[in-house]
Amino acid sequence: MELKTPPSAEKMGARILEALIEFGADPEMMSPEATLEDLEIDSLDMFELAQILHQEYGIEVNPDDFEDVKTLGDAQQVLLGYLK
């Protein structure tokens, strides 16, 4: 398998926002405090996002890590944690 270079946190954070907007989330509502429910982001979106992060950066997302995630900020924290 091709080894992929991990992105910077800034780059990956931007890619996450871009993907969620592409999935249909309202760009104007994007803030760390916004809940995933308010943004109409559900588990199917998270599967798509996981696929993108895997395809583009080789990151393996574990769905169990999102059990307590409520807000966009929570989600970004978990996802950026994979860079450590």
Partner: protein
């Protein structure tokens, strides 16, 4: 014997003639044909006018047709905010589809082939599954009763309508959203139908004409809101007409061809009339399956003679497919809506493209111009309280025959 009728309180359609049930009827009545370059495509349909980006991403085209048609039907039924005016657990949904989300499946198979399994879109199954439409409608309209899809090729949505009638009669629901949708004008599916010998070689849809040479594939969707009559009356709904009977049969003869003698199809017609408590002489109009294939149009003519006897020669028979093509799983619902609106409009739209009837096709298939419904039906018909009575026929690959009786 009739066990009661369902009140039809709302209808909606997306067809190659445009968005809207009245648009379908009025444009067909006026002889407008939605078939171009050998297909009946819903060219003017823009889901972005009706749906959010997220909804569009998560729905295949057949689901989009159904969502928009359902919204029109719910609006007409006076469902406040599109929510049913009943206990949500007493509202059901049965919809027809033949193939489902073929475009997504095909695209993702190519992705698998080119980029491997990890690249396959995670939403492939929920977006393409044949039951996607009832699932999406439950989210949109908030009903919580039984819902499912029926797949019986060209009879799918006629069977869904029949199933809705049964559910209301058995008091399993106060309202049932019925109908169906299909969107499979993809190169792969068109090629498959072509190679099965079903598609018109000329690209012309000419039901019952001596030059007919196969069906023209269409796409679209139709939704009807059926309600228990007593509940519809209680809430002051406008009742557009009644679904009074349903009959079905299976040829058991051939995977694709109908039995030419029409005996088994005719049995479905008689069963539908018996179910409605109507006699053959009560029928004022037939909305034919009328596919423009050599075999169907002859078998259907024979079936009408088997079921209606000499009365088959006395009434107008026309084919909606002559202007929209064959939308497979959506056809039965679109044609049931066209049938209802024909009775309400009092004018029978023509079988467009029919000039010279084929051999042994000797009924009145309404060539040329629209004609008024038989005077009797506008002056006291054989239906309930003097209403006109019509049949809508659907006969399918697989030999599934389904007939609904509509009164208005």
């Amino acid at each position: 014997m009739s066990e009661g009728s369902a009140a039809i309180t709302g209808v909606g359609a997306v067809t190659p003639l445009g968005v809207g049930a009245e648009t379908l009827y009025e444009r067909w009545r006026d002889g407008v044909c939605g078939i171009e370059d050998g297909v009946g495509r819903c060219d003017g349909f823009d889901p972005a006018q009706f749906m959010s980006r997220k909804q569009m991403r998560r729905t295949e085209r057949f689901v989009q047709f159904g969502v928009i048609a359902a919204r029109e039907a719910a609006d007409q039924a006076g469902w406040d905010g599109d929510e049913p005016p009943y206990d949500p657990h007493r509202v059901a949904c049965v919809l027809g589809v033949s193939l489902g989300g073929t475009q997504v499946l095909f695209d993702q198979y190519q992705t698998l082939d080119q980029d491997g399994p990890d690249a396959v879109w995670p939403l492939t199954i929920p977006v393409s599954m044949p039951n996607a439409l009832p699932a999406v409608l439950a989210i949109a309209h908030g009903f919580r009763g039984e819902s499912r899809s029926i797949a019986s090729a060209c009879s799918s949505s006629a069977q869904a309508i029949g199933e809705g009638l049964r559910m209301l009669r058995q008091d399993e629901a106060d309202a049932v959203i019925v109908g169906g949708a299909e969107a499979c004008l993809t190169p792969f599916i068109l090629a498959a139908f072509k190679m099965a010998g079903a598609l018109s070689r000329s690209g012309q849809c000419r039901p019952f004409d001596e030059r007919r040479d196969g069906f023209v594939m269409g796409e679209g969707g139709g939704i009807l809101i059926l309600e228990r009559e007593d509940r519809a009356v209680d809430r002051g709904a406008e009742i557009l007409g009644y679904l009074s009977g349903y009959g079905a049969s299976t040829d058991g003869y051939h995977l694709t061809a109908p039995a030419e003698d029409g005996e088994i199809c005719g049995h479905a017609i008689r069963a539908a009339l018996d179910d409605a408590g109507r006699a053959p002489e009560d029928v004022d109009y037939v909305n034919a399956h009328g596919t423009s294939t050599e075999a169907n149009d002859l078998a259907e003519t024979n079936a009408l003679k088997v079921a209606l006897g000499g009365h088959a020669h006395e009434i107008p028979i026309s084919s909606t497919k002559s202007v929209v093509g064959h939308s497979i799983g959506g056809a039965g619902a679109i044609e049931a809506i066209a049938t209802l609106l024909t009775l309400r409009g009092g004018v029978v739209p023509p079988t467009v493209g029919l000039e010279v009837p084929g051999e042994d096709l000797d009924l009145n298939y309404v060539p040329g111009d629209p004609i008024p419904l038989p005077e009797r039906s506008t002056n006291g018909g054989g239906g309930r309280d003097g209403r006109a009575v019509a049949l809508s026929n659907s006969f399918a690959f697989g030999g599934h025959n389904a007939v609904v009786v509509i009164e208005a």
